[in-house]
Symmetry: C2
Subunit: 339 residues, 2 copies
């Protein structure tokens, strides 16, 4: 390894310094056992059948926050996109864009977190790419992960399968990720014990698919645009009204307090370890029971139901006070660089 | 579409404005025919067999340069990584990171180029992600593409199959991409007719695999770190000396002149539409013939040969003047943001 303890532009040149960075910093954290890991491309062993591809780029600031960092996030976010699509994550790619001047110690910590998250999810980071760009502001990094998964044989998810009377289930309280990042960024100590919910959801998602079969209609993780965005998408794509009860939505008192202080709406705040599932009414209790068997979904609850078809489908929330509030797709988020 | 003709932070919020950007700007260029394109994840149809995954993030500046733009580059670069691994590209993901203030007209042009390049390569962009970051310098964009390919049945490529006497083939002249970008960045008009070689190579790579079978040992595209980087990797990984002849290396006179003016070494300059192939000696003429059947490889030539095994394997070039020069892996590149 070069003597420098900061990233240089030359680390991105594709030459000797890039090779040393990959060998000494990246592979030990991510590829450990496999010396062929993180080459230009990787051959995968996939079971015969349907395959799922997804990608996300992560631009969160700060890079490290209570409950995780950009490495945890990049692995969990992509694992979760596969999981809610009904796929078992098999392999991830990781593209790093580092800013000149980034401390290599920070890079090591972030990659260690990514490696830990990948092992926790049972998925391998098999190929990657590293670029370095000139510093114009604070040094930082951007991480892209793409993921390949094998569709679980029993998974038949889709908006088209959502029917009137189906139950809407949320796996836990809202807003912990967005608020942990915002409080960290703003230096708010009032919510010092608030942690991002960043976690892989492939185990509970797989359990739900296996336990419910055709009674599981559709899943999605409420990341950017939050629960409001997911329900608005569901309602629009299924062409049906959706009704949720405010009192039924699991709540984290610290996140609620932090949202009030910051003037943010928990319904549209980003989560990184939650899923929304639509299931047949008769399977709702079973689904909640399955989810509660996992620590990451211990507070799972039925929060509402799907209604009839409509030309102008609406999402409505029965409020605590007994009123009705229309839940809309947020216009744009107030919170840049949250994931 | 919003009235704004520039990217706003809110375009990355995951809400209504993001949905409009995807529907009005991104899908028409990339997903055209398929309304399900560019959702969070996509199901793929892959033939049974081995699968290849690759990724690259593109940070080139300027975004548009003679012969292409970051969209062309992002598609061709990832298609080519699959092609030289012996895979037929099936699907790409595309992760965009846009800087606040980017002109939407620029984004449209770049995505149109990406769509054109994908159609030219016969590959679909099936899923994507869009983030927006605050502006700290010039507005710009970063593009990640990951690619999934199906390994061609006849492809058995690997360093381990490289043998003494094998021929080293280069598909065309060096440095056109790096020098077109550099001349554009520096405003050099001396090389006004110099264009990036950015092009998909999956057709010639597939033809080579099919025509040569086991006589095709290994392929690689000489991008960052150029031919020097590829030959140094080949020599080190195969544990063999490699010898190339300077007079045999195809040359583009404009690129040669531009390299001289800028003081750059063509051997380590990046290419985006070239491949290096190692083939059995007896198959060399056939390989060159196959490659020359494609416009992108019309100047293909045998440039050298693989030598004996060595504990300290070296790449040497017989120079035009009759001398010998050792070709090393470049330390770091002099040229940031070239791809």
């Amino acid at each position: 390894m070069n003597d420098s303890d900061h990233i240089l532009l030359a680390h991105g040149g594709g030459g000797q310094l890039t090779a040393e960075l990959i060998r000494d910093v990246i592979l030990p954290a991510l590829g450990g056992q496999d010396p062929a890991a993180l080459t230009d491309s990787a051959e995968l062993c996939l079971p015969a059948g349907r395959v799922c591809l997804t990608t996300d780029t992560y631009v969160v600031e700060p890079l490290e926050f209570p409950g995780g960092d950009i490495g945890t996030l990049a692995v969990c976010g992509t694992v979760n996109d596969l999981a809610v699509a009904g796929a078992e994550p098999v392999a991830l790619s990781m593209g790093l864009v580092l800013t000149e001047g980034l401390e290599i110690a920070v890079l090591r910590r972030v990659l260690a977190s990514a490696g830990d998250a990948a092992r926790a999810a049972g998925v391998a980071v098999v190929t990657g790419d590293t670029k370095v760009v000139e510093r114009t502001g604070e040094p930082g990094m951007i991480v892209n992960t793409a993921g390949v998964g094998a569709m679980r044989p029993g998974a038949t998810l889709g908006f088209g399968r959502v029917a009137a009377g189906d139950a809407v289930i949320l796996s836990g309280p809202l807003g912990q990720h967005a608020l942990a990042v915002m409080c960290c960024r703003k230096g708010l100590t009032v919510a010092a014990d608030l942690k991002s919910d960043c976690a892989p959801l492939n185990a509970p998602a797989a359990a739900l698919i296996d336990a419910l079969g055709g009674d599981l209609r559709w899943m999605r993780d409420p990341t950017r645009a939050g629960l409001a965005g997911v329900l608005a998408d569901l309602s629009a794509a299924a062409g049906r009204n959706v009704e949720v009860r405010q009192t039924a939505i699991p709540a984290d008192p610290t996140a609620v307090a932090a949202a009030e202080i910051l003037g943010l709406d928990l319904l549209s705040a980003a989560n990184e370890g939650k899923l929304v599932a639509v299931v047949a009414a008769g399977a709702a209790d079973r689904a909640v029971g399955v989810l509660r068997g996992f620590a990451v979904a211990a507070d799972a609850a039925v929060i509402g139901a799907v209604g009839e078809t409509s030309d102008l489908p609406l999402v409505e929330m029965l409020t605590r006070a007994g009123g009705r509030r229309v839940i809309q797709m947020p216009y744009g988020e107030d919170l840049p660089r949250i994931c």
